[in-house]
Subunit: 158 residues, 2 copies
DNA sequence: CCTTAATTATAGCAACGGCTAATTTCTAGG
DNA sequence: CCTAGAAATTAGCCGTTGCTATAATTAAGG
């Protein structure tokens, strides 16, 4: 509340430094979590749909090479989010399931929100894949409220 | 156009694989551009406000160490976005100015959009710092239209 | 002019997220 | 039962983004 004092006098003043640092820090943290969230969400989708999540399927869906997936899965296992059985598929731990469910719901809301705004489905899909990881709880609730207001709790009620 | 055929029969089917790959690819590309955009935008802000952009100021604003900034500036210089004068500040090339202006405008629109949605300014600042990099042209125009509709071209008219 | 403090540069480390190439292991068809 | 092909593993490479510690340079004051 120091630099803010004269902001009203100087409309071109820089934003408060401490606040900006906090924004950048938060964004860096979100960035580190992005991949993990995408992986567990995708694994949950594959399991729910086909019964199993194999490295090849994950790699094919993400558009990366299979050893890239293998390395990431080791990290997820070390983090306690998945269980690996050699030459079998991977499975989510309770913690992994919880994160996957949270990520999936948030992703769906962001995508539905963009669609409710009038964005094309294709663009909404692409943009939400990145935006989702940077949406705070407060913003997510605003998105959800907007979707409900527009769509009247239709569809899967998000 | 293969998996899509039976999507209508199975409401819980996975999204089209090709489309999902494209979303992930696009998001990875956006991720690579994030830091560059934040740097040139911040450099432009510092120059516009204080006349120069020094490594120490950039580092302090970003919340990272000074050698981290030094390394990134080398990359920006190699990419033709800035000019460095040893032990002087850094300056934007025409290309750098162009990218900075584009990034700044997009950032402002995203932040104003979140505020127009009813998000608190603090949260809007934090979330927009990450979201901005994943907003396509189509989505940006929708955001801009929404802000204008709500605010009636007030303020700096974004 | 000289010295000191601030700033920048450089060296070297680590984690992450990609990749290719080669090897190992499993599974299914014959 | 054997074997071919698919899948997973392992090894090793690179670029990015962060860090600390240290050296070099500049700018300013006395
Ligand atoms: Mn997602
Ligand atoms: Mn995503
Ligand atoms: Mn920005
Ligand atoms: Mn940003």
């Amino acid at each position: 509340m120091k630099e803010n004092a004269d902001v009203s006098n100087n409309p071109t003043a820089l934003v408060d430094a401490d606040a900006q640092v906090e924004s950048f820090r938060q964004t860096r943290n979100n960035r580190r979590a992005e991949l993990v969230e995408d992986y567990v969400e995708l694994i949950a989708d594959l399991i729910d749909h086909g019964g199993e999540a194999r490295q090849v399927d994950i790699a094919q869906r993400l558009g990366v090479a299979q050893p890239t997936v293998a390395k990431m899965l080791k990290r997820l296992a070390a983090d306690g989010l998945i269980q690996q059985r050699r030459y079998r598929g991977v499975f989510l731990t309770d913690e992994g399931k919880s994160l996957a469910e949270k990520s999936r719901e948030r992703h769906q809301i962001v995508e539905a929100f963009l669609c409710a705004l009038g964005i094309s489905l294709e663009t909404a899909r692409i943009d939400s894949e990145g935006i989702e990881h940077h949406v705070s709880g407060e913003t997510l609730e605003a998105f959800r409220a907007f979707v409900i207001e527009r769509n009247g709790l239709a569809d899967t009620d998000v």
